[in-house]
Amino acid sequence: MTQSNGEPRVIRVPILTRVEGEGALDIRFHGREPTEVHLRIYEPPRFFEAFLRGRPMEDVADITSRICGICPIAYQMTAVQALESIQGVKVSQEIRWLRRLVYCAEWIESHVLHIHLLHAPDFFGCASAMELAKQFPDEVKRGLKLKKLGNQLLEILGGRAIHPVNLAIGGFYRLPRREELDALIPEFERGLAWATEAARWLAKLEFPSFESNYEFVALSHPEEYAIEEGEIKVSDGTAIPTSSYEEHFQEVQVPHSTALQSRRVATGGTYFVGPLARIQLNFNQLTPHAKTIASEIGIDPSCRNPHRSILARAIEVVYAFEEALKIMKRRAWPSEARKALQNVMAGEGISATEAPRGLIFHRYRVDETGKIEFAKIVPPTSQNQSQIESDLRQLLPTIADKQDQQIAIDCERLVRSYDPCISCSTHFLKVNIARDGLRPE
């Protein structure tokens, strides 16, 4: 788009809000074509991989947790599993269930937060959930109650909701108290009903019509909806052993971002991780109830509209409540909190799990004294970052005629639908649209 004076047009929106972290979006148009679309993450780097080196492996879960306050379990779980693989520790089935339970708690807390507090206000022209609560007091309060249930479960299993303290290499530091979990069962039964109502409420939203031909990537597990383990599945049919993740997906550094971006090696192309990818690839493993609600609210594996991710999240909340209830009702109980390590082994190991925002990959190398020699962490948002930019490139020509302010709002909405976590990818998203020839700062 050119202005009357012939200069390309510049639009700036200083801060993209209701996302986790600090970044900016820089957009330049030449005619109707966007020539530059940078999701610029300027969250200051915190160098986790570097300062993990030389630390005892027991510290890794607590430290990597601090990458992100919204999904600490994703970091802790992926770290302890990678380290367990190095140490040759295989946890008991009962411990695995409790770990899956704590991961369900995090999915609930994180998804419900995004649905109600960050994303839903977009659909009603509200600035925040606090404003939305004036129009929909019961719905917002229901959201808060759901979130609280997720957090209560995190507290029982982990000691606290943000940066829980209980995940250990080999299991848990201390087993949760059976009676505390039992007491939560009736609450979770109510939660399941609320989660179902929340999903139905969201079905009434009006979604922008954007669609793209995505390559979806998620873990997949033969027996269950993959959360804490599985092999990698791509929507083109490729199956990739988790151990070869790095041969198939590569991180590149781009000048406008302090987060590294991922590409698929085979195609050089972008890919999509997160709830929509999981629904796409693992739909059949949802519970019958979750599937019924999914078809009722209009989300299924054919969905290619990122704005509808809010429905995918809502279905995963329903699923997580059901799965949590199933685990809490099991009577089998671990015989010990954790397996003690016999001898420390040097070696290298990986793990990948499904964080609320998508696939997360960790690799560590440990020396013979149990100290970390090398650490690599690939969070979901850095994998989605290139996909977000590519979506914006597709969207922009179709909205080039709109007012600058509306373009910015449309772009923000698209970015927000991904639930980007910039703290993860290194946080503050700011949209700058350049159309007057000035380079965005």
């Binding site: 200083p14 801060i15 809000t17 209701r18 996302v19 986790e20 972290g21 600090e22 300027y42 969250e43 200051p44 780097p45 915190r46 160098f47 986790f48 991989e49 570097a50 300062f51 080196r53 005892p56 510290d59 607590d62 601090r66 992100c68 306050g69 919204i70 600490p72 937060l113 507090l117 960050l118 206000p121 600035a127 925040s128 959930a129 606090m130 404003e131 609560a133 917002v140 309060k141 808060l144 109650k145 979130k147 609280k148 957090n151 000691g159 606290r160 909701a161 943000i162 940066h163 303290v165 209980n166 530091y173 201390r174 550094q253 000048p255 302090t258 590294l260 703290s423 946080h427 503050f428």
Partner: protein, 266 residues
């Protein structure tokens, strides 16, 4: 403070966990949003009102020149400044860079380091500007944060306990992990506020609320840590989420020097 204080919640280098604590106050959030004017809270609202503010609640540490300048501007725009969390009050986990070669850290994470602008240290907010109240924790504790907010609403200075993690631990009836299980624990030298969670989960305190007032650091190392762990491991334990808090830092450096002298005389 008169009716509805105008509040800004501002972030520097951090994980968002501390401001998330406010969103985790599910029972109180809507009432708080009514009682105060949340004028700038980017994580939760697209309404971003410019200053001046009555109170700036600050999360995160200073790790870039841009952030340092942003903080100076913010300080000019707010009457009171409250810092929340270990990042803001001591530099956070990212202050581990203060002990290492920063250039090397950048290279370890990023292939082309030239485009990464970052300071060699991570420093707390109070080393740059006047701070009126500091709330500890990694993350801050929800009830303490609510206490701070209600004090601000009522217009008086918040108060938080300065006792050590040991006292609430005893009151809770947790059996001491040092005595009963021989687990090294930072509880005696760490400020309470977390609810003494770790010992209740059969593990030692890792100091996420930072040093208590006038902790006996050397005595603690001698009596609690070193009988149960090497100096090197004690250095790592002290270099956690409050590594750059002065008492923790001095003690970790002292213990580190002991290991160095011993290595060189071998």
């Amino acid at each position: 403070m008169k009716s509805k204080p105008k509040i800004a919640i501002i972030k520097f280098a951090s994980c968002d966990g501390c401001q998330l604590t406010l969103l985790d106050a599910e029972d109180e959030l809507l009432a708080i949003a009514d009682a105060v004017d949340l004028a700038h809270f980017a994580e939760a609202s697209s309404r971003l009102d410019a200053g001046p503010y009555d109170v700036a609640i600050v999360e995160g540490s200073i790790t870039t020149e841009d952030d340092r300048l942003r903080l100076l501007r913010l300080r000019d725009e707010c009457r009171w400044m409250v810092t929340i969390g270990a990042c803001a009050t001591s530099g956070g986990i990212q202050a581990l860079r203060n002990f290492a070669d920063h250039e090397e850290f950048i290279r370890a994470v990023y292939a082309t380091p030239e485009t990464i602008h970052s300071l060699a240290t991570s420093t707390p907010i109070a080393s740059h500007v006047r701070v009126d109240f500091e709330l500890r924790g990694c993350p801050v504790d929800k009830s303490q944060l609510l206490e701070v907010l209600s004090s601000l609403i009522a217009g008086h200075r918040p108060r938080t306990s300065t006792e050590s993690v040991c006292q609430p631990c005893k009151r809770k009836g947790t059996i001491c992990v040092v005595v009963a299980q021989g687990i090294p624990c930072l509880g005696p030298i760490t400020q309470s506020g977390c609810g003494s969670i770790c010992p209740a989960f059969d593990r030692g305190c890792y100091g996420c609320f930072g040093p208590t007032v006038q902790p006996n650091m050397a005595g603690h190392s001698q009596g609690v840590l070193l009988p149960r762990m090497s100096e090197r491991d004690a250095v790592n334990l002290l270099r956690g989420f409050n590594a750059a808090a002065p008492s923790f830092q001095q003690e970790s450096v002292r213990l580190w020097q002991i290991t160095q002298t011993r290595d060189s005389t071998r």
